[in-house]
């Protein structure tokens, strides 16, 4: 520290970082353009970043869009299916991260397909309105992931052949644990 350290030194970092013009990568833009071209306003492009394209779809169209992603864009497997609970919107979001092994130009890319299901205040998993069409007939790899989302958030996947519990005990009778209203003890 220098001798005049008592003086509040002007912070050099206080300058606002220069706002870089947001450049949209061309290849990723091409992917999102293809989907927009096919589906128009049925979908919403949330963002286009380096290696990541995110598409928001309503649950009525998610099956068709996923089919196009597989057949028209050469994506071939789902890496992860995440459920995110939004109690204030009364919705549960299900996010598919889709990648490709067989198309070498898509190896770095992850296409993020997100859809939302209605959220019930008092859930009866499987017997309430929290339902989404299953993508298992399109991407076989979602099988266990969708089972996990069903038990953890109570989103029932219609058309999934096997909606049994996977990680939770068979006799779990509480709320689906990844909902926001399931609180951890002591917190």
């Amino acid at each position: 520290m220098s001798s005049d350290s008592k003086k509040p030194t002007p912070k050099p970092a206080a300058k606002k970082p220069q706002e870089k013009p947001v450049e949209i990568p061309a290849f990723e833009k091409g992917i999102s353009d293809k989907i927009v071209e096919k589906f128009g306003d049925k979908i919403e492009v949330a963002f286009v970043k380096k290696d990541r394209v995110r598409i928001n779809v309503s649950k009525e169209n998610v099956h068709d869009v996923a089919e196009f992603i597989r057949d028209g864009l050469n994506y071939d497997h789902v890496e992860s299916v995440s459920g995110v609970d939004y109690p204030q919107d009364k919705e549960i979001e299900v996010v598919y991260h889709i990648g490709s092994y067989s198309d070498s130009s898509l190896e770095r890319q992850i296409l993020i397909l997100s859809t939302r299901a209605q959220r019930e205040e008092n859930p009866i998993p499987g017997n309430d309105a929290t339902k989404l069409p299953s993508l298992r007939d399109i991407f076989y790899s979602v099988e266990f992931h969708e089972r996990e989302v069903f038990e953890m958030l109570g989103v029932y996947f219609e058309g999934h052949p096997d909606n049994r519990r996977l990680l939770l005990p068979e006799d779990w009778a509480d709320l689906p644990p990844l909902r926001k209203d399931f609180a951890i003890k002591g917190r």
């Binding site: 290696d51 990541r52 995110r54 071939d76 497997h77 789902v78 890496e79 992860s80 995440s82 995110v84 609970d85 996010v95 991260h97 092994y101 067989s102 190896e107 770095r108 992850i110 993020i112 998993p125 499987g126 017997n127 991407f139 076989y140 790899s141 099988e143 266990f144 992931h145 996990e148 069903f150 038990e151 029932y156 909606n163 049994r164 519990r165 996977l166 990680l167 939770l168 005990p169 068979e170 644990p177 990844l178 399931f182 951890i184 917190r187």
Partner: protein
């Protein structure tokens, strides 16, 4: 009767010919999970993996802790590979907080993550050996991995759960003289693991037990979304260190090991080849690493993330490991999802076991490079 059952429960008819057998969760050969196999005589007709016995709710816990205090518990799914499990989360948080990592820290991370990969694979190899009845292959890796654990202890202060990666770099700088010790140990280690070929991989008994069992074709490996050694043993050249390089992997020369057979033997050989490759990567990284410089960016207390989502992935000891972080501008993440390779590879198990002999179950199951605790999270 069946109409009244809630979704998720099912009644099953008992067959006279088919016997249902529970393997695990107490059986040591299944790890912390249960495999329900249906056998006809000696042949498996159906298999239903039932994980979840070590589910600890890591993802739920992560919503209650801030970005920094999440570090120690998020590495628990695979304590032997703790640096790699933490890696995608740390990369994701760095993007959310907008931090640039110092150059030296990136190299330290690469070295730590490659050492951890070897430590994990050695542990897995020990288990694979003992369940094939090859106790030398249990003793040797269990002993030799101590070399690398000592190195990690020097580097991080802990033998297994290091909690070494933090957003903004690594926790501590390398101790003095670490580079020389590391180079010496890794050189010895590389020479030593090549000896495993003579006792294990070229052993006719191992070959006869694992060749042509549990074959996963290239199309099925892709369709099922498998990853890591399972995918590369089926002939798909896919390694994230090369395909989507993170930190300084793009400056290192990396060779991806691929085999075309897709059987248990290929799946067990790929991790061993990966270890030899890891040794080469460590030596390159030691050479290219800046000799001095900071290893950590100082963070504000309780940093808040941007209101964004981020998905990062790295190549762990078992395959591609992804982390999806949803932030809502609070000190705690809104949601953390770990997409773990063990969970993704598990889907292949019912495929591979169908039509196999029951005696081949351990060799097929453990060849998936599966870690039950990681799949359960």
């Amino acid at each position: 009767m069946t109409a009244e059952l809630p979704p998720g429960l099912a009644l099953q008819k008992v067959d006279e010919r088919i016997m249902t057998l529970n393997v695990g969760p107490q059986h040591p050969g299944s790890g912390h999970m249960r495999i329900v196999v249906q056998i006809d005589g000696d042949y498996i007709v159906a298999c239903d993996p039932d994980p979840g016995y070590v589910h600890r709710g890591e993802e739920k816990m992560a919503e209650y802790r801030n970005y920094i205090t999440n570090i120690p518990h998020l590495e628990r799914p695979v304590i032997h590979d703790s640096c790699n499990v933490l890696y995608p989360y740390v990369l994701g948080v760095e993007e959310l907080l907008g931090i640039e990592v110092p150059e030296r820290a990136k190299y330290v991370r690469v070295i730590a993550s490659e050492l951890n990969r070897c430590i994990y694979i050695m542990y897995w190899l020990a288990i694979y050996g003992i369940f094939l009845g090859h106790s030398t292959m249990f003793m040797w890796p269990a002993g030799d991995r101590e070399l690398l654990i000592d190195l990690m202890e020097k580097m991080t202060g802990a033998r297994v759960t290091h909690a070494h990666f933090v957003p903004g770099g690594v926790r501590n700088d390398l101790p003095p003289n670490f580079e020389d010790v590391c180079l010496r140990q890794v050189n010895y280690f590389e020479k030593r693991i090549k000896e495993y070929a003579a006792v294990f991989y070229d052993n006719p008994i191992l070959i006869s037990r694992t060749r042509d069992t549990g074959i996963l074709s290239r199309q099925d490996a892709i369709r099922l979304g498998t990853t890591g050694s399972v995918l590369r043993a089926s002939g798909v050249d896919y390694d994230l260190r090369k395909k989507e390089p993170y930190d300084v992997y793009d400056e290192l020369d990396i060779h991806t090991n691929v085999m075309k057979e897709g059987d248990s033997y290929a799946r067990s050989r790929i991790p061993w080849l990966d270890m030899i490759e890891s040794c080469k990567i460590i030596k390159q990284a030691l050479q290219k690493m800046p000799k001095s410089g900071s290893v950590r960016v100082k963070l504000k207390p309780n940093p808040k993330g941007k209101n964004e989502t981020v998905y990062k992935r790295v190549e762990s000891g078992r395959g591609s490991l992804g982390c999806y972080v949803v932030s809502d501008s609070k000190p705690e993440p809104y949601r953390v999802k770990l997409s773990v390779p063990s969970f993704r590879n598990l889907i292949a198990l019912p495929y591979l076991l169908k039509g196999e002999k029951l005696g081949n179950m351990p060799s097929v199951y453990w060849s998936l490079n599966y870690w039950p605790v990681e799949a359960d999270r």
